[in-house]
Subunit: 345 residues, 3 copies
């Protein structure tokens, strides 16, 4: 690669802005329609390794490899034509080398070839967002370390909005009130001879066991936002009837088939924002190694479950989130005409 001898780029005229990244399931502050011309959007991420509980019931845990401490990594939002300028630090107390591959970018293995950092190192990468859509990003140190890091949580999403915002198939603008950012994570936790999940003292110690577990292609856990129940109970998301949610779903490794129980995908972008959204969907598809977006306007109050509709994965492996919606019930859409009652045999 000829980066060293390449012509310098002229960035005069590009305004610089900082984007404060926030923890999932939330989105950073952003405009849906771009204000002014393309910008250089500065972000910062640390490649943090931390012991995380995956399932409180069993105590299953993992030395998660993360961007900024969360699984998934933070959602980044820019507009088509903007530059992303990332400063990435690998903390001094890390055990492992990390890097980052942005599916939204072009060249050098998505930036992976230019961002390998060892513990105590930092790097700065700038790239232009030329394609509009939701895209996954992830660590990719090379060889079997790639799925190892990805299956330890080291992935997230960037949303590159069209400059003039989202549109329906006829070109009418579509706006959302809130974003729900969900990362679906497949974990392959090693099990000992007694059937218990193994525990490890430091990040990376589980490597040979993990490779063997991953080779089964059968996750022990598959969850939203890092752990079983992370987005249920106190972690449930809250909405009101009439509000529109944009569900950004990142699945860096395995296919998913999201379904909103009691709702729909009014508009679904499975592929890119270049392609007109699919509509009126019951269950959409997230190709393993991609991020997708679905928009829904709530019409009824109550609890909605957002699930991977392989219901074994949803209910037994953990891929369930809850949305709690306040508002007035509409009998014109659904009515319990007669409540459950006994009938004669």
């Amino acid at each position: 690669q000829a980066q060293s001898s390449a012509k310098p780029v002229d960035l005069s005229g590009y305004e610089r802005v900082k984007q404060e990244l926030v923890a999932p399931p939330y989105a950073p502050k952003h405009d849906q329609v771009a204000q002014g011309g393309p910008k250089i959007v500065e972000i910062e991420m640390d490649t943090t390794e931390r012991l995380m509980v995956v399932d409180e019931d069993t105590g299953a845990s993992i030395w998660a490899l993360t961007y900024n401490g969360s699984v998934p990594g933070p959602l980044i939002i820019v507009h088509e034509g903007d530059y992303v300028e990332l400063t990435m630090r690998n903390p001094h107390d890390s055990q492992m080398e990390h890097n980052i591959d942005f599916h939204a970018s072009t060249g050098a293995l998505g930036g992976g070839g230019l961002t390998h950092i060892y513990p105590g190192e930092k790097v700065v990468l700038r790239w232009k967002a030329t394609k509009a859509g939701c895209f996954t990003y992830h660590c990719a140190p090379g060889g079997a370390m790639i799925p190892y890091h990805v299956c330890h949580g080291m992935n997230g999403a960037i949303m590159v909005l069209p400059r003039d915002g989202l549109k329906d198939k006829d070109g009418n603008p579509l706006k959302y009130d809130k974003i729900a950012y969900m990362g679906e994570q497949d974990y392959y936790l090693p099990i000992d001879e007694d059937g218990n999940f193994k525990q490890y003292a430091i990040a990376g110690e589980d490597y040979p066991d993990s490779i063997a577990a991953m080779a089964t292609l059968t996750p022990t856990h598959q969850v939203f936002n890092g752990a079983v129940g992370a987005l249920t109970g106190p972690g449930a998301l809250k909405f009101n009837v009439g509000e529109t949610v944009l569900m950004v779903h990142n699945s860096c490794n395995v296919d998913s088939r999201p379904h909103l129980i009691g709702g729909h995908g009014d508009y679904v972008w499975e592929t890119s924002f270049d392609v007109a959204p699919l509509t009126s969907m019951e269950t959409w598809f997230v190709r393993g190694g991609s991020a997708a977006a679905a928009m829904y306007t709530f019409e009824q109050p109550g609890v909605y479950a957002y699930v991977n509709h392989n219901l074994i994965i949803a209910a037994i492996k953990g891929a369930t989130a809850h949305f709690v919606v306040e508002g007035e019930w509409n009998n014109a859409l659904m009515e319990q005409v007669t409540a459950p009652e006994s009938f004669e045999a």
Copy 2:
């Protein structure tokens, strides 16, 4: 949820009609283009538990959980804007609680929250079909019972037709002569220490074994319409050259990739009827937790196999159906120029 205090709905002006549900692979009587205004379509379903043979060769069996006794449950057909009014009964001799979640409906977990019935109970639910497409429905009692009921056969499909019928991408009407309604069912049958399929005395008794088997995510059987060979031999569907079949494929839990061996998907609606059909497809995709439709006009006589084109699943797990087509062979489409014969080495 505020159903009790919600405003009553005014249904004056809606005509009431009864739809007699029939056993798969057949479709109830219906109009392809709606006659008159929106209707209230009354249907009845019983949540029947029954011991079913899954594979005659091995004697593998399951205490199937069903709607109206069949796997899949019966196909319902209405038009966009119609109401579905379901009276559902749980027989007195049932072992288990059941309910129903319609992916086509809006609110209350697709009706699941309003339809929990114990043995000997009935309930009446009415909901408006606001989205056009094929949609799955299924039992969803909560937690791990959801995949347990679904993977014991308790799912089926509703087709919500556009009021003016199906159209190609240019808006030209598309008509079918017959419907072939197929439910793809993944079963996870427990196996004893000797490698034999376990047998159980009553519905529900296999629960702990089933949960363990489901956690492997590897079905022991994956079949159309309840059992290996249900739609082959005497169960094969019959057509004539020139006839158009609409293949409605329900797969409530696992992804499928249907292919019609020797034919095509001339028009395929993988998502909803809002979206223009895909055309000239070799193999289409049914997202796990959805129903899809594909239309084909037969051009040649002979036996066609409709398969999940993971051919292991088709040939070893059971997902194969046969269509037997009568008519005249067309050499302009295909010709055996020279029959098999020996050649010199």
Copy 3:
């Protein structure tokens, strides 16, 4: 089937041309826009059985069942409206019966019903390419022999181009400079009690072991073009910045989710050439039992990895290919602003 009494077809006016098939990942000589009227395209294939090393590191091997000796079988390219006339020979030293099912054709199980040949036999089949797209072809001798032959490598693809070539969604012509033809192959290699891959003396000897291994639905290997590393190192494909590659991806049995690390799918035809291409894709989808095409114009030099983005499958099962691209780096698309360096704690 009434082939014997069917009317003869009048082929006067059709010019005959021979297409020399070549080994993957290359494509036969062809016009992107058809010259003149529909033709009869004559091709020849031998059903060759050969012992192939699947992974040099472990010595894992398989008695591959092939068309013309390669996994995948050769790429065939014709235009919509052309006839394909195949002369297929089963060598005298073969162990097994073979045939061929073309997903692109109509009738007789895709030709499978008319092409069963035993060792020492040949057959000639002619069929009309009425649908435009990439389509898989494969051996389908019947029953469990179908996945057995397919999972031993006996599959490939035909590309049926529109007569006037590929177009974007607005009808503008799209041209490619080179084709990269990749077949993704799932292998289920039997393992002995010591955990070693079993070896067999002749083709077919592994049949019972293979059926058991396939029933797990978990491949031991999943590779491009027959073997781990077939398209990396000396097998990597070479391109230049500014060149456009058409990636033709055949996956006859399992779903795939291809991603080009560092690049994109500028135009992707997941289904048929009838349907406008998807654009700006990070990761596309190949339904198991289909072939798809994606077009990309290289903008940066360097090494690109083309992977199944279930990264376990890419890195541990083998589904990785490399594209090496020469040219000048463009800092306007991506720049390493600061190389990795230490930072203070």
